[in-house]
Amino acid sequence: MIAEFAWIRPEPGGLYIRPADVWVDPTRAVPRALITHGHADHARSGHGVTMATAATLAIMRERYGNIGLAETMAYGERVAIGGGVHATCLPAGHVLGSAQILFECCGERVIVTGDFKRQPDPTCAPFEIAACDVLITEATFGLPVFRHPPIGAQIARLLAAREAAAGRAILVGAYALGKAQRVIAELRVAGYHDPIWLHGAMERMCRLYEAHGVALGDLRSMAGVPKAVLEGAIVLCPPSALADRWSRRLPDPLTAMASGWMRVRQRARQRGVELPLIISDHADWDELTATITEIAPRETWITHGREEALLRWCELHQRSARALSLVGYEEGSDEDERA
């Protein structure tokens, strides 16, 4: 008899679906790749065939230009990917186009969540619960200290800080794919309709979101704009630009950052952030544990992030679990991608 779940296994280069010869979010170029979402640590270029949702493929083309052969997967569409394996993309609620992938083989169902969140997000489809035997979950914020508050309160803090800091530009560090568009959309929801200014690195991704039906309101390019115009303005830039010379063109900027890591004061302090906004596109501790409870898989496999704590939680709740320790997605050099 074949061992349970032998058809899917963690390899140094990613999750490998052997009967179909398909890799999920591989860290190196492979013949056939299934990509959960467009962030650079998951979506790399150079694969023979890239399978992903239409939005994810569009994001990859925007970033990498030609990505070779592509196969579009629609949410909910059950696709035979070879070797008797079926794959279905389900919304993950992480960023535009993000998907969990449900694999079915040998009568067994395995869900790879990719990155996901449960908080509502006006820029992408909400996470969908599906039954499975094995849940392979991310654990970026897999520590009980991470509890992301509702985004409305964080947006209100941003707007209050803008009111209080008369004449200063409010510079918000936000990852260019997903976070930036969500912050903009939530500002609009909160009734803020002034122009929002963009660092050059964000403009194209915002246009791509708009082309996918996400309304972002009046967006302006920073290029060539005199300092005085930006007094009291909200400006978005990638986190890496916060401390860059680039920010000197702003009038006395108040530095904010939208990230789940901002829950920890010392993290904000290390980055020189004066206004930490706890806004994350990942599940927090409560969402991670609630998702495991709700789906109630026979086994939970925990990957990229803080596996130890979530593993411990599973142990305390008599849930069978193990850590996959996939490399290549670790927190470390570039948290910006996974905030």
Binding site: V145, V264, R265, R267, R269, G272, V273, E274, E308, R312
Partner: protein
């Protein structure tokens, strides 16, 4: 509590000193009494609730959170108060509104060891995460938010347009919430009485000497002794001994408190008797700092200690004598008064820090280089015309420390730091070779270094640790022992408490030596040979 919490967050996240100052000023002006007094106490380290220790917080959390989850979280966050504030289980319904500071003070001050946990838990239940963070910081008295007591006092002076020197001076007769101080500064009430109380007067401090551009003719030179700087105050029949930070350490040194019976304020170095030094001093020698350390931090002192390591003060300066404030006088006049006073006191308890002849920089360089005496830390240069002014003033006093000792060590263990360095591997344990590294020699830990590196070097070291981990013991990572660092330190002493038998004083990372292979690091014998006592 929420105002205090908001102030804490602003102070923690505002990088600029001026902006921090402005935030405290605003808070002191706008908050009511006595809340602002308690805030000031928290900022200046004046809070002490004997029943509330950090252990109480850990106990509370241990009852509510799985120990493994707690330790993983604490390790990541790098701050116990913040970890606890985030992990505290929110009650379904808050038992009451957020408490104001005075209510918190009343509750915590009346807590006993037995009731401390319950009292604190009840308050925590009424606050959100930010409020809980502020409460725990407030209750345990360790803020660590990058604000010095001095900055808080400057803010107080700014807020009410009074002189910061007067604030420092009146400060020490007062207790939180400093009602008399606020009445004086904010409402123009008479100044708190200071002439019948043995008050601490802020020390005059020295700048590090950077360039030899001074005209030596204007300066007097003396040794910088390696003890602790103290101020001994006697007025109206009472005597107090204060440390450099103004802490009352009288109880630890009864022999000194009993020895001054004249109205005077003496600035000097606290040392214990020993064989090390005697550079022309009548009263006899002093021991190294290591010997003094045995006597520090004690609430009481045994007769045996008093006999084995008797303390004395080597006098530098005289601030008051017979009720007269000498601080406005030039240094040379104060020195003359000091030279008259000291011989009239018990020679076993007081001597005079001698002046050293330094006519030229060459002579000074030689003197400093030759000063390997264990009780000497370096040389002081004092402007002969300088009044005694609180704090560090440009151009008046300079300190010129001995060159540091240096040794090449190998990185063995690393642990994540706290505070600003939370989540970075920034606490390093270093070792030297015991035996020939080519023939089965071992690395033995000889010391820990937490600083000396730049932010960029810290990031580099953090990455090195992560990439070269061979084992983990809880929060500690053992590295592959491939990295050599040059460790600078002030002195090294024999120590029974350390496995290697040595303890370095003030070790820091001077250079990262990626150019040097680990087996070329220094041997333990090299370090042993540098032992000063």
């Amino acid at each position: 509590m929420q105002h205090f919490a908001a102030l804490l967050d602003t102070l923690l996240l505002t990088p600029s000193r001026n902006a921090k100052l402005a935030a405290i000023v605003r808070h002191l002006r706008e908050s009511p009494d006595p809340d602002r007094g308690w805030t000031l106490a928290a900022l200046t380290g004046g809070i002490d609730f004997p029943a509330i220790k950090a252990g109480v917080v850990r106990t509370l959390m241990a009852q509510r959170v799985d120990p493994v989850l707690w330790s993983l979280s604490r390790d990541f966050v790098g701050d116990t108060a913040e970890t606890a504030s985030l992990l505290w289980p929110e009650p379904a319904q808050r038992p009451g509104p957020p408490p104001a500071l005075p209510e918190v003070v009343t509750a915590l001050a009346s807590a006993t060891r037995a009731s401390a946990a319950t009292v604190l838990a009840e308050l925590l239940d009424r606050l959100d995460a930010d409020g809980r963070f502020a409460l725990i910081k407030f209750a345990t008295g360790a803020l660590r938010i990058g604000v010095s007591a001095r900055l808080a006092k400057l803010a107080f002076a700014d807020a009410f347009a009074v002189s910061v020197d007067l604030v420092e001076e009146y400060w020490h007769g007062q207790t939180p919430p400093y009602a008399a101080l606020f009445a004086w500064a904010a409402e123009g009430a008479p100044a708190p009485a200071s002439d019948r109380v043995p008050l601490f007067r802020p020390f005059m401090l020295a700048h590090p000497l950077e360039a030899d551009s001074l005209d030596l003719a204007d300066y007097a030179a003396e040794w910088k002794w390696d003890g602790i700087r103290v101020q001994l105050v006697h007025v109206a029949g009472q005597t107090r001994l204060y440390s450099r930070g103004g802490e009352d350490i009288s109880a630890a040194f009864p022999e000194l408190v009993g020895a001054l019976d004249r109205a005077a304020v003496i600035d000097g170095e606290l040392l214990v008797r020993g064989e090390s030094t005697g550079i022309g001093i009548a009263g006899g020698g002093a021991a190294s700092f290591n010997a003094l350390q045995q006597r520090l931090g004690r609430k009481t002192v045994s007769a045996k200690m008093l006999a084995q390591a008797p303390a004395f003060v080597r006098a530098y300066d005289l601030l008051f004598a017979d009720g007269e404030d000498l601080r406005p006088l030039p240094w040379h006049q104060r020195r003359a008064r000091l030279e008259t006073l000291i011989p009239t006191l018990d020679p076993a308890r007081f001597d005079l820090s001698p002046l050293i002849a330094a006519d030229s920089w060459d002579a000074l360089v030689d003197l400093r280089a030759g000063a390997r005496d264990a009780a000497i830390e370096g040389i002081m240069l004092k402007h002969r015309q300088s009044a005694y002014l609180a704090g560090r003033r440009a151009g008046l006093w300079y300190k010129w420390k001995r060159d540091a000792l240096r040794i090449d060590c190998v990185l063995i263990y690393a642990q994540r730091g706290s505070g600003k360095r939370s989540s970075f591997y920034s606490d390093f344990t270093f070792g030297c070779w015991h035996g020939d590294p080519e023939a089965g020699g071992e690395l033995v830990p000889v010391g820990k270094a937490y600083f000396g590196f730049t932010d960029a070097e810290l990031k580099w070291l953090d990455r090195h640790v992560r990439q070269h981990t061979v084992a983990r013991f809880g929060p500690v990572r053992e590295t592959d022992k491939s990295l050599v660092c040059e460790i600078a330190f002030d002195s090294v002493h024999a120590s029974k408490r350390h496995k290697s038998g040595v303890a370095m004083r003030f070790p820091r990372i001077a250079r990262i030596r990626t150019d040097k292979p680990a087996h070329e690091a220094d041997r333990l014998e090299t370090l042993m040979a540098m032992i000063a006592d």
